[in-house]
Symmetry: C2
Subunit: 424 residues, 2 copies
């Protein structure tokens, strides 16, 4: 996928990215009309779905662009009590760049599509922008990884997976590949020497690794002479090793494809069914979810989940409550405890994420030194859990910059200011 913030739309300002108001997908009329005119189309087959500002429409409608497996809800919807506060829009924060802005302004500054704040289980704040609605199945990108991580930890807890097993012992197809001799724990914590560069900005010559992954997974159309790997599992099996495993944390999405492969092989179930059976149906989710699949029907565990804002808020709240949700133990307490312990800050220090000094990464979750856990996806997707403050924040976004480095200088101070205001 070409994640460059290119601005190819006729009449659309060039030179840097438009702000949230002038890139509002509803105002720009993407895909409006029967049929939409060429200038308003957001497509898979010409790559326009991977251009800004087109993706401000596309991230809320991604199932119209790529095939998906369904993750159906079932039964009664679990309640999310509502007691909206009117004082939060004006909470003032200071970004890491030293700019003062209100919470409301921070949402625009980070191209937020929707955001929801739970305080001790009650929705105190909820905002919707652009084309994103309560039943929108918004792409979550790498928030998906955090569910794969939970499922892996749950299988370790039940003894169906062993954390020190080598990947190739569980999935023989990984033997000889870069991850074949990595342990499940090293893969879970992204402390492997896998040969893959997580660079979202397209180069001028050749394909990036991220684009090669997208070709394998069907998120970019293939040319007739395509001879790359077919599918997410084949893609990770095709990668080599550039460093010893067990070193520093380095974020590389195909680690999660390998992790998903181990989870599917150990459980005998595809990822969509696992998410349905372990989360969507027992938790009484409000909306069906979906997950992008490659041409072999394999879900993209590295970033393909599409779900509603309120449902990812439920996931965060369930974890805040120690894995319990309306009387059921969804995730074992030991797994939740591990999640909130985080990983090794020494292995994380070199990445220097804005807003997260002394943080860590473990089990496919991000961790702050203050004890908060985060599921993060490119372009501003997130579940933020601050147990000490009793706060869960779910957010959906379509930021022009893929990496969360593009927004965390605003979002993290904004979360801290909001938590402080809620505690007053």
């Amino acid at each position: 996928m070409n994640h460059t913030a290119s601005t190819h739309v006729a009449g659309f300002a060039h030179g840097g990215s438009a702000d949230a108001a002038s890139s509002d997908p509803a105002a720009l009329g993407w895909m409006a009309g029967s049929p939409p005119p060429a200038s308003a189309q957001v497509r898979w087959d010409d790559g326009s779905m991977w251009r800004f500002p087109q993706w401000r429409w596309g991230f809320s409608n991604m199932r119209m662009l790529v095939p998906t497996a369904g993750i159906p809800r079932a039964g009664a919807i679990s309640p999310l009590p509502l007691a909206l506060r009117d004082d939060l829009d004006d909470v003032v924060l200071t970004t890491l760049d030293g700019a003062a802005m209100t919470w409301r302004e921070s949402l625009a500054a980070t191209y937020t599509d929707a955001i929801l704040v739970l305080h001790h289980g009650t929705v105190v704040h909820e905002r919707w922008f652009g084309v994103t609605r309560p039943d929108t199945q918004h792409i979550l990108f790498s928030v998906t990884k955090s569910l794969v991580g939970l499922l892996a930890e749950m299988l370790i807890e039940t003894g169906q997976l062993q954390e020190h097993a080598l990947a190739a012992q569980i999935v023989p197809e990984l033997a000889g590949s870069g991850l074949g001799n990595a342990t499940l724990r090293q893969i879970l914590d992204m402390r492997t020497g896998l040969a893959f560069s997580e660079d979202y900005v397209a180069g001028h010559t050749g394909l990036t690794d991220v684009q090669r992954m997208s070709l394998a997974g069907g998120w970019m159309p293939r040319h007739a002479d395509h001879d790359g790997p077919d599918g997410h599992f084949a893609f990770v099996a095709s990668l080599g090793q550039t460093a010893a495993h067990g070193g520093d944390f380095v974020y590389r999405t195909p680690n999660t494809s390998a992790l998903q492969w181990l989870v599917e092989r150990a459980s005998g179930q595809p990822l969509a069914a696992l998410i349905r059976d372990h989360f969507w149906q027992p938790m009484g989710m409000e909306c069906d979810a979906a997950i992008a699949v490659d041409r072999l029907g394999t879900a993209f565990g590295g970033g393909g989940l599409m779900a509603s804002l309120r449902d990812i808020a439920r996931l965060g709240e369930m974890l805040r409550l120690g894995g319990r949700w309306h009387g059921a133990q969804i995730v074992p307490e030991a797994v939740v405890a591990r999640l909130f312990r985080g990983g090794d800050p020494a292995a994380f220090a070199h990445v220097a994420y804005p807003g997260n000094p002394d943080g860590s990464y473990a089990s496919q979750w991000w961790h702050r030194a203050g004890g908060q856990a985060m599921a993060l996806g490119v372009h501003g997707q997130g579940i933020y859990i601050d147990r000490a403050a009793g706060v869960v924040i779910a957010r959906l976004g379509s930021h022009p910059v893929a990496s969360n480095r593009g927004n965390m200088g605003v979002t993290i101070p904004a979360y801290d200011a909001l938590v402080a205001a809620l505690g007053r």
Copy 2:
């Protein structure tokens, strides 16, 4: 789409189609494994989704193969009372070929994926086969047309569309095309001289019209040198005229694309939103539905709807009840009355459908001389409504022969025998 009943699977018997048991998609293990081996794959990009017996898996999982728009349910699920009868499996019928078989045997003989019988609003019979489950979003093919027909009749009833208007008066893009000078009513009743052949069997030279439609709509991958129309609306606008409009009924799918275009233009809403707002949400459907979309996001009104068996049974029951469903008037009574009046049998006689002498076609619904209305989709999809008997039958199938000529010699006598048994 290549609808030929080819049998290219290694180890799968050649020469004619396997019977239901030996083509059972669960037993054959299609798409099983992480990832499925090449011999078990059902794919969009190699056309295998359009081969039998692969489509016995594919028709229950079509959203994993092509992009779709969501049609979300909402609110409380409307009840379908259950009082199963144990005497229906053994009901005996005589097929039009003179063979005696039981109802149970007729389901296998027609490659049924699932079937449900309502008698005066109560589920008296329900059967599931292969990989089809109560929450499966099974492709409905041309049953989709019958919903587009209902929406068009509803817009005529409210005055938003005029039945004698010419298509090009409503959608100027159709001017000069084969349907530009056809009336809405002629299109609704498929009594146009559109240049299109509804032939589902692939020829040995060149593409069939159905394949060209599939290329336009994205159900077949395009070669790099593809220069055909892009999308369902462009496809119908590209077709010419071979005969005067207003003659005999001739079944041609692109008529429905034109009809959908008029409906979308008049309502200002895309088809998925219309089905959501007029049927799925007010009727309290049990499962989300989905509809296949082309590369421009246009739904395939000619055959792209995917829904659960019980939800299409609800549609049939709502129409049996005069358009009312749990206190709400979903479809105006006048529209329902028109539906059950049917069309002109003289315009229909030449097609000689098995099991339907003296029948007719109107408003995108099929009609039997006995007053029954039918929504029919290739490979055995259907909603059958017999108001006199108080019976509604919903069925899903994956018959090796696309045309319902392949199964109606069994299904129609089977329905008649079942209705007689229920009345006893």
